[in-house]
């Protein structure tokens, strides 16, 4: 009798404690402050708009553009094929499978670089890789790709090569060579639906 009552006297209070306490749902940080500072100073997370334009023209399947602005701004104008994850919803469970994977290249963009970089910092802290930031955001995108400026005649050949590429990219991606306000792209491409992807990374186990 004695061992059973002892066990009961110990286990029941533990059970009451565990029933009463709310579940631990924190998402812990994986990198130390020093490691994150190292990554931030190398600035390897930035991707130039030339690279993104090239991937868009070649229809590279590994590209995934993520717009971190609010939904209204996304619906007004977005890059082709981009999905919308407002930065306020970044930690929601429905987006974890999109942000934490190693198949596609996720490129965050916003109007400038600040919001996109914030999104990158938070996801990098959670240990997710394969997330990048579009350098300069949409502002620089318009300036460089959609309305490229002709370089001065004394510029080196690479500048001219870049200008030629940007000119053709702007025509392929729907920019005019005129200075204009944000073109209305909401009717041209259907917004891709965020499909839930099967969870990877569960360890295999069993008897």
């Amino acid at each position: 009798m004695k061992p059973r009552t002892l066990l009961a006297l110990f286990i029941i209070p533990m059970g009451l404690i565990i029933a009463a306490v709310p579940q631990n749902r924190t998402k812990p940080y994986k990198l130390t402050a020093g490691e994150l500072l190292g990554e931030v100073t190398t600035r390897t997370q930035f991707v130039t708009p030339d690279v993104v334009a090239d991937m868009l023209i070649k229809k590279d399947p590994s590209l995934r553009l993520i717009d971190v602005r609010s939904q209204d701004e996304f619906e007004k104008y977005s890059l082709p094929g981009a999905i919308n994850i407002p930065v306020t919803d970044l930690l929601s469970d429905s987006y974890t499978d999109i942000l934490n994977q190693d198949v596609k290249m996720n490129i965050f963009y916003s109007t400038g670089t600040i919001t996109a970089n914030e999104a990158w910092m938070i996801t990098r802290q959670l240990g997710y890789t394969n997330n990048f930031v579009l350098e300069g955001g949409l502002n620089y995108w318009f300036e460089a790709i959609l309305n490229p400026q002709e370089p001065a005649s004394t510029s080196p050949d690479e500048e001219f090569a870049k200008y030629d590429f940007r000119k053709s990219a702007s025509q392929a991606l729907g920019g005019g060579l005129t200075v204009q306000t944000m073109p209305d792209q909401s009717i041209s491409s259907p917004k891709p639906v965020i499909k839930p992807v099967a969870k990877k990374k569960k360890p295999a186990g069993g008897c």
């Binding site: 059973r4 029941i12 533990m14 565990i18 812990p28």
Partner: protein, 196 residues
């Protein structure tokens, strides 16, 4: 932060080695609890010896409380812990076959190896039967392929299916386990067997 292998704190190989050590500990505990005796094991079905029920349920509630407390302290992330996928038909049919085998043979697969390690002949015969069953399953696989994979429910936890939180379900399970221990003790007095 656990689980250690998933968070790359230890390598896969260290994980396997630790599993080996834990397995040795498990076998030791089984043998010391007297699980090498087929009569003691089958006793839970006849009522005279409920040691199987008590040991396994105590292990289950200890492990459950341990994991939940570790999650509370932030030492393990329960989302990364493997939950067996549920194939409903296979579970029920397999459970019935195993239950019948358990009552007839007086062993379950793990304890049969435990008893074979101390040289018991009935355990060796049980292991032989085990392998015959495995071969039959393998050779006739195409016949029961559909049954094997029927009714896949994902990997739900009982607490999610019942709509309770993990902690509340743990407490309920503890109460159920303690009630079952008291019933088991009553059964042991009701169906005594002098020698087994």
């Amino acid at each position: 932060m656990g689980p250690l292998a998933v968070n790359e704190i230890i390598s896969e190989n260290t994980n396997l080695f630790l599993a080996f050590i834990i397995g040795i500990g498990f076998g030791f505990v089984l043998e010391q609890s007297g699980f090498s005796s087929s009569r003691k094991l089958a006793g839970v079905f006849y009522g005279y010896d409920a040691v199987v029920l008590k040991v396994f349920f105590t292990a289950a509630i200890t492990a459950m409380l341990g994991l939940l407390f570790f999650s509370l302290f932030g030492w393990i992330n329960l989302n990364w812990v493997y939950v067996n996928p549920t194939y409903l038909t296979s579970s029920i049919v397999g459970g019935m076959i195993m239950g019948a085998g358990f009552i007839m043979g007086g062993f379950c697969p793990g304890t049969s190896f435990c008893a074979a390690s101390i040289g018991k002949l009935d355990a060796l015969v049980f292991i032989g039967g085990l392998f015959i069953g495995v071969f039959i399953f393998g050779i006739g696989y195409n016949l029961w392929d559909g049954l094997y994979f029927a009714k896949f429910l994902g990997a739900p936890k009982v607490s999610t299916v019942l709509g309770l939180s993990d902690g509340v379900f743990a407490f309920l399970l503890i109460i159920v386990a303690l009630v079952m221990f008291w019933i088991a003790e009553w059964a042991e007095k009701k169906f005594p067997r002098a020698e087994y």
